[in-house]
Symmetry: C2
Subunit: 359 residues, 2 copies
DNA sequence: GGCTACTATTGGATCGTTCCAGCGAAGCAC
DNA sequence: GTGCTTCGCTGGAACGATCCAATAGTAGCC
């Protein structure tokens, strides 16, 4: 009788209210503050909800509460490298963690018409076409499409972090605010230095004394952090690092050339690498010299990528606890969005070592 | 004067209208149907929008238009295999394509508290804990959180596709409706069979005559499709397939054992594999026999994963045009959501071959 | 001028939810 | 009985956009 016309549309609060013989607000309370209702009313409403298969309309709820329950995550233009491959493992855990917290993950990317445009242009415009670091964030924010952001590329000197912090936008970073001691935003990171130390200990236990480092370019915060784990731990073991370090691009080819150069001059018996890509380069160099990696001539990578797992021989590698990172990030996001005081600003998690045939 | 109180909140249509000296609706039109406005009014409104940094509130728009401009994509519980690694490349392209079409990608996952629960339980309950194939879809749909879905795992006999189709929910599948000729939903797929044919041709050109197949288990639609490319093309070249085919789990170990068995009995000079994982297994077997892959003893994988690119020697592999798949999918989604008639129900794209050292 | 036709713009209603003020009934103290 | 508080529930208003019907202004045509 009192039921609305309901032209085949989904049930609304009013529909459920009529069905249960209560007011709209009571149904709303049944969902949001069940403790306000008398138990018998609550069950009556819940039965009606069940019977009609009702779910509250997200858009209406978002409009009224000024919250979208979405977390924005920007995926960078596709570059096929191990960092991206990592993202995948991370994403799964992230989506699961956010679900448990009542949130969803919204993916976005920079607003420029990227690849195609730069192909046509190809002129001096390439400079202006350089991806604006804030592209995308601004629009999502102004249109209230997301409640918070998750940053994943703080190694670039995080202009995003500063921008967001300045505007009081809630966000959590995966990665420390390297080189910005003034940063006041929550973050979660993996202790790469400790991970490399694990690798060094593992090699020293197996009798290695000449352990080389093949890592990222100087100037990369993350690269230097990982390298410090190698250098400091070797010294703690009373071993020399002299002339045993190579730093360059994070590419297969640099790893390969670095390994050849090191083998020619310093005769290391083990290589610790800043990434799996570099480690694969080292393996290739060994292959080219008809050397077989193993307990006597060891290689350790970083990231425990799929490639490390399936290549022959299997590559020992430092594994980041990405599942745990996701959980911690969502915990921080939850605190942030509920305006709970943060128990701690940052948190570092310790990696593990996946031991395989190359050691 | 007429401007609203505006307690530090974001500008709304009313704010902009006051600033430009027009009505709300005119501002709305400036955004949605600019051709309705007189040019001078349009510029006046656009300037006001620019000046205030206005973006329409998503929630309000969604509520009124009954559209969220979000595409739901369910990510499956993390399994570390090549299929997931593929997803990554695909995701990037997908997000870019959807952006160009004015949409965003919303990630979700099954609603059950998955991994943890099944760890505790470990009993006969494992059956009920078996992931409900529709988990998550239903809720997002009823709450109008997404406009459409994108399915990516049609190889499982797609119960989702049938469920969604039955309810008239817009969705596009990445993958053919294998074994369901009654399916009437749009899909985009990669012609795996043609990809394997490319690999066979490549090997035949290099003089191979005994080309083995190492692929997925019998009964997998995709696996059989890829295998048919090998079998049919060999026959077209007048070559024998007899006893040269091995099918089993998509694991490194199966690839390894299959390669050993084939080498012992049939002495193939080349292996075409149903996945990179299997190919890496074959490479490991060769390694164990001190055989070096290359032009004389060749291996071809499928997926062109990161592992194929960085392993030593580099693995020749069939590469899926995932970027193009994403574009086609979004094109179909656009047609679907705009209620445009579909020009074609399904579309298959042809892979390419990334040639490396193993051939 | 008077009629129609069309254009540019307007204001009210509406989407489905939650916030807020308020109401009757019940409980308690005096 | 009166006054006060608490409990359980209600109905109107609001969030910010778009849909819709209606308006004033302009032009065309006889």
């Amino acid at each position: 009788m009192t039921r609305r016309p309901d032209r085949g549309g989904a049930p609304t609060l009013a529909t459920v209210a009529a069905e249960a013989g209560v007011s709209r607000q009571t149904v709303s309370n049944a969902l949001n503050s069940p403790d306000l209702l008398r138990p018998e009313t609550l069950t009556r409403v819940q039965e009606a909800i069940e019977r009609l298969g009702y779910s509250p309309n997200r858009a209406a709820r978002n409009l009224r509460t000024r919250a979208s329950h979405l977390i924005g995550l920007r995926v960078e233009p596709a570059v096929e490298d191990s960092a991206n491959a990592l993202m995948d493992r991370f994403l799964h855990s992230l989506v699961e963690s956010t679900r448990d917290a009542g949130y969803h993950v919204l993916l976005f990317t920079c607003g420029q018409v990227g690849a195609d445009a730069s192909l046509d242009a190809g002129t001096a415009e390439a400079v202006t076409a350089e991806a604006d670091p804030m592209d995308g964030y601004d629009e999502l924010l102004r249109s209230a499409a997301v409640d918070a952001f998750l940053l994943t590329d703080t190694y670039r000197g995080n202009p995003q972090a500063a921008w967001l912090e300045e505007r009081g936008v809630p966000f959590v970073a995966f990665g420390r605010p390297w080189g910005d001691p003034a940063a006041r935003h929550p973050w979660v990171d993996v202790d790469g230095r400790a991970g490399v130390m694990l690798a060094v200990d593992h090699l020293v236990e197996r009798g290695h004394e000449r352990i080389a480092w093949v890592g990222w370019q100087k100037g990369s915060y993350i690269g230097e952090d990982r390298r410090s784990g190698w250098a400091d731990r070797l010294h703690e073991h009373g071993l020399s690092t002299s002339r045993l370090s190579a730093r360059g691009d994070d590419t297969l080819d640099f790893g390969r050339r670095a390994a050849h150069a090191l083998l020619d001059s310093e005769h290391p018996t083990a290589f610790v690498c800043g990434s799996d890509t570099l480690a694969m380069g080292v393996l290739r160099a060994l292959h080219e010299r008809d050397l077989t990696p193993g307990p006597e001539l060891s290689v350790v990578g970083f990231d425990d990528s799929l490639a490390a797992q399936v290549c022959s021989p299997g590559l020992t590698s430092v594994r980041q606890p990405l599942e745990q990172v996701a959980v911690e990030i969502v915990k921080h996001l939850g605190d942030l969005l509920a305006h709970r005081p943060l128990t701690e600003l940052g948190r570092t998690l310790v990696p593990t070592l996946s031991v395989r045939a190359t050691t």
